[in-house]
């Protein structure tokens, strides 16, 4: 009987402390994409430029060495990944946003998949050599957090001041 009350007490205490756990970024803010086509002697080169942001909503925790992937996924096919772009930040301070600016080269086939997913015109890309910066609907974008470390902001700032002195 006492063990039952103890386990209830432990679960209740754990629930009380859960709000104090760190909030991990779950989505990318204001995602947008631009695709450029350049042609030279070596052939066609497709450049995908992605921009967006991830926000650290914690009040006293900084993310150190945050690495993640922006995944372009097809929601009609169980979020099957169409493309994935990697990014990293050395540090994201509390309440701050990490601005993602990725430039990546892709093959024609990969770019066509992206155009099809986002319902963009292939003909326009070929004719104008560029698809203008386009805001992506959240349903096509997933954030995949690969790795990160956390550090209390007070300790982090103290260490920085000590390094400076």
């Amino acid at each position: 009987m006492q063990k039952k009350y103890l386990s209830v007490f432990i679960i209740f205490t754990a629930i009380l402390f859960m709000p104090g756990c760190n909030k991990i970024p779950e989505k990318i803010q204001s995602p947008s994409i631009k695709i450029d086509l350049t042609e030279n002697d070596n052939g066609k080169k497709y450049t995908v430029r992605f921009s967006g942001g991830i926000k650290n909503e914690n009040s006293d925790t900084a993310f150190i060495g945050y690495k993640g992937n922006v995944v372009l996924a097809d929601p009609s096919k169980d979020d099957k990944a169409v493309d994935s772009l990697s990014f990293s930040f050395p540090v994201i301070l509390p309440f701050d946003s990490g601005i993602i600016n990725i430039k990546a080269e892709r093959s024609e086939e990969e770019v066509m998949q992206i155009l099809e997913l986002l319902n963009l015109s292939r003909e326009k890309l070929i004719a104008e050599k560029s698809v203008e910066r386009f805001n992506i609907d959240e349903k096509f974008i997933k954030l995949d957090t690969v790795t990160y470390k956390t550090r209390g902001i007070v300790k982090l700032l103290k260490d920085r001041l000590n390094e400076k002195n």
Binding site: D60, F95, D96, L157, R160
Partner: protein, 179 residues
Amino acid sequence: MKKIDDSKLYFYFALTTLIIGIILAVVSFYSIYSVEPEIKDLLASAENKDKSYERAYILLRDPQIFARYEHFDTEQDLQLGYSTAKKLNIDSQRDLEILVSKTFPGTTVKKALRYFDNKVYYGKEITADEKRYLEVLLDRRMKGARLGRNTMIFVLVVSMISWILLFVEKRRVVSFNSE
């Protein structure tokens, strides 16, 4: 018929509230008599202002338990905006809104934290003009400590009432059983 003895209930309630009151007292008075005077001295320091402001900010960045940085009072932001506008003789509502929402480093605690975290982390100097925003953070800490102190007083009064009720109950039980 035996009288129901509630003295155990009164005892544990009185003891629990007493312990809570003592914890609140330690937390609040530590801030009021140790941390806040140190911060005030650093902000008032005439020498090595940059280093003093940095040290003050580190102390302020570790919030008082009743004034943590998870929840923000927008009313406080507006009042700070209004008082600043009054000092600058701003009458127009539109100009006031611009001051409150767009003027850096802004009047919100959250914006101040983000701004100063970046400044200290990347080794930039905190200027004398920015000292007033450190004072906003200090004001928040002071209000939290006073809230803790006032809550302590309330809890200790409740505890004292419980101790009195305990003694009254014990006397009633003794006199009832002796009849």
